[in-house]
Amino acid sequence: MLNMALRTFRRDWKAGEVKVLLFALTIAVMAMVAIGSITDRVHRAMGEQSSEFLGADYTFESPRPIDDAWIERGRNDGLEITRSQSFATVLSSDDNFQLVSVRALDGKFPLKGTIEIAEKPFTQGVVQQAQPKAGTIWLEPRILGVLGVEVGDTIDFGSIQLTVDGVIVAAPGQASEVFNVAPKVLIHIDDVEKANIVQEGSRLEHILFIAGEPAAREPYIQWLKSQKNPTQEITGGKEGTPALKAALERAETFLRLASLISVVLAGVAIAVAAGRYSQRHFDYSAIYRCLGMQIRQVHKLYLWQLLMIGLIGSGLGLALGLGLQSLIINQFSDYLPKPMVGISLAPVITGSLSGLVVLLGFALPSFLQIAKVPPLRVLRKELLPRAMSSWVIYLLSIGVMALLMWWQSNSLLLVGILLAVAVVTYLLIRLIAWFIFKIGVWLGKRGSLPVRFGVGQLKQYPAFTISQISAFGLAFIIMLSTVLLRSELLSEWQSQLPEGAPNHFLVNVQEQEVEPLESILQESGVSTKGIYPMVRGRVVGLNDMTLEEALDENQQRVGAVRRELNLTWMADVPEANKVTQGEWWSESDVADDRAELSVGEELAQRLGLEIGDVLKFSIGGLEVEGEITNLRSIQWDSFQPNFFIIFEPGGLDGFPASYITSFHLPVEDKGVLNQILREMPTVTIIELDAIMEQVQSILDQVTMAVEFIMLFVLLAGIAVLYAVLQVSREERLLSATLLKALGARKKFIRASILAELILLGAFSGVLGVIGGEVLVNILYSQAFDIDLVLHPWYWLWVPMISVGFIGIVGWLGLRHLLNQPAHQVLREY
């Protein structure tokens, strides 16, 4: 049987019978391998980048010293581990003091990313991966102004003196700590003990920075997780950068989706091609059967064909996919995350195996049909194999699709969404098929003869028409959703860091300094987003009860009620906030005896606060009450100062306030910061420009990756459209030739073919738009957390593009064939 199968395959190959199916499979495997590898590589490279913010792949924090054996174990596993201690202390030089947050290191820092050290404040630094030598200290620029020192000077650190060796321009770990008021310094870990600065009972965090290959790293992290106690905390790359977390997660979801989509496209192409292949083999099967072959033998023969097509198609697709992904990564390396990581085996294996599985799931039903042709077909051509229950076919395809999606995405939610869409699409297709019939009847009465003939072609083979429309429609659904999702993500990311967003903050501005500060800024041409008051106070009571009475144990542990909060008053809702419950105060109802309050909804939820609750604050020994009138959602990744609690204007009158302001300052204007520090030495400057630039560059790269994958999905979609047109080309060619043989003129033939193609395009386009809107909105709400949006503009565009593409490509594929002599064409079919 194998011999015969090989011979059959060779003959089919020569006769061009397997080419379309092989083409579809090759495209499918190529797409899966290429998209899979590219997304995997981009994804891992992005992971590397977010690690750079953390300074490591993971950090492990503990309030108590960490067992040396744990560190030893990690290092033995081949991991890089830098130990550090973190605490707050006061630095002094002459009569100047500054509270700082110290990070003492025992090894290289950072393990991921770089640290930028300069010799003068507010200048470009040198990028390095290092640690301060014992006896030296690296400082954030604002400390130099406060302490009145320069690089090379010494400062007091506990009982010893340290030499200022450099200025920290940018360092990892800043993102989550930007609004920590205490500026950061780096020292060598040995100096901590020498300085005698840490006493029994001092608040000290022990931190491990951990980096290494995933194979060694992940088991170690798992082990740490099993060992750690509740006071110890493990943080991975993404969690360390709230500003990027959402963006990266969405990008990942998008990329995962893209690879799922390639599976669907592959399935469609293969199903269409396999249907065609099996139809073309019905005659063969009937003759085989007539000559005495048994069903089992015919099954076996065609399963061998399927296997051989699978192996060759997967092999070709794999080779092409690997070549393509490396070409693409090299070509676009400027726009992709750097450094790019190497290719990994998993997506390659998944891609090639998926090819075989897709082939089985989508082609097997058609192939099984072949052997079921009644042998009587040799006498009665119209006999077809008994149709398999369509439920069996759909269940098999959907099952295989679900399996593959789950395999590729590991996300049941995404799989569920896509399957739901598949069901909706199926129903839509039935509806549209019904429509075609109705329109066909309508046109059959009204259209000109060629149009009626063209529409008649669609009506004559409803199953083939439906499979074409569903394939085209699905390709359009997928392409449209990809385009829409990409636009939505991009505009979201742009709004996260708009051009000219404030990248410098001044805090701790005293009331009498507000006016001089405004004039300095005005002279330098810097425009601010306003100067806000900030009052530090504690929450001490809720609804006439103390916190101990009002809150349960867990609630009492919430950070916001254990420390001083920054309170403010504002007339309008701050930019990055949205009122989610209650109403913001209007200008007319200025504070009566009890101020209105706006509370962040997360905090309210954790403390069980509701609108109407009354909070009591202690501010500098005095007490004040306010009533909650609204709750706000706060966008923590906005790089804006955010406040848990906002009073209505006037609510904090009479309490000592410091002020805060923010502005956008390009690098070349940074000199103005020195002037501010000279004139108002107590003002604290928070520079976010470096980190924002880094975030921006990551967002740019993620954007590029998304654009790029979208382009690839579009190409894969076009390949499917093209494959389906190829498959249906013969049908059209044959009917056109028959027409020609019957004496129809070219004009007539052209009109009838175009009518058929245009109608096909229009229905596919409509299906694409409806399905695309449904899919994209389900994805928005379920996977991306975006509100419902409709895209009426595309309702016009997609059908037009669909008609244009299917019309033009379909026509081009036929045009030159129509010039062949009719008898030649007819003899071949």
Partner: protein, 237 residues
């Protein structure tokens, strides 16, 4: 070799039972040549498909080479065909992707017999297509295609050959050539031949003519001996 008893075929067409064949009882002995004739719609092709086991009767019995076809399932009937039956069709039914040689080799291969290539080549030489071995069906004329089909039909050395209007798609000259080949090979190899035709001259070359009308056998006559019939046909030419 072939025996039917009260063979009946009815089909359901638009809610009505339509009787295509009723009570056909025939016996065909080994090496007989039988023509089934009748006008279009008289049930000729249906009878042929039942005799060859391509279809199942609604009633009655068919025995082919001792096997009760009416009791066998699809695959068992296929096995009987593989061992005993050859076909020649009106529309040739060559496999378009296979060369002339490969088409003839196919039944030999299906029977898993040796020397498929040599035997196929021999047969094609006998039908005068020595120079056409590697041609594909679409490169052959209708007459040539039917000669390949005849070579294929005899390739597996069948005990019985069914021919459905073997000359129906051919002009007189090619038709004669094909029927000459058919009867010559039949004689040489001692095959039983059952052919369906509405060409009286072709029918008269058989030993026996069975005439169908409205699904019933209305005449079953032995004609003059095969030699006489052949002589008559040759004389006419």
């Amino acid at each position: 070799m072939l025996r039917t008893q009260e063979l009946t075929k009815t089909v359901n067409s638009q809610g009505q039972d339509l009787t295509i064949l009723s009570d056909v009882s025939l016996t065909v002995n080994e090496q007989d040549t039988v023509a089934i004739v009748g006008v279009s719609g008289s049930g000729k092709s249906t009878l042929l498909s039942l005799l060859a086991g391509l279809d199942l009767p609604s009633g009655g019995e068919v025995h082919l080479a001792g096997e009760p076809l009416h009791q066998l399932d699809e695959d068992e009937r296929a096995a009987v065909r593989a061992q005993n039956v050859g076909f020649v069709f009106q529309s040739f039914h060559l496999l378009p992707g296979l060369s002339a040689l490969e088409n003839v080799m196919l039944p030999i291969e299906l029977k898993e017999q040796d020397r498929a290539k040599e035997r196929a080549t021999e047969l094609l030489e006998k039908v005068g297509l020595k120079d056409r071995l590697q041609h594909y069906p679409n490169q052959l004329s209708g007459g040539e295609q039917q000669r390949v089909a005849i070579a294929r039909a005899f390739a597996s050395e069948p005990k019985i050959l069914f021919a459905d209007e073997p000359t129906g798609n051919l002009d007189t000259k090619n038709g004669n050539k094909v029927s000459d080949l058919l009867f010559d090979l039949n004689k040489q190899l001692g095959t039983t031949l059952v052919l369906v035709t509405h060409d009286d001259r072709l029918a008269e070359r058989c030993q026996r003519i069975v005439r169908l009308e409205g699904g019933k056998v209305v005449a079953d006559n032995a004609v003059a001996t095969q030699t006489e019939a052949t002589q008559a046909a040759t004389a006419e030419q």
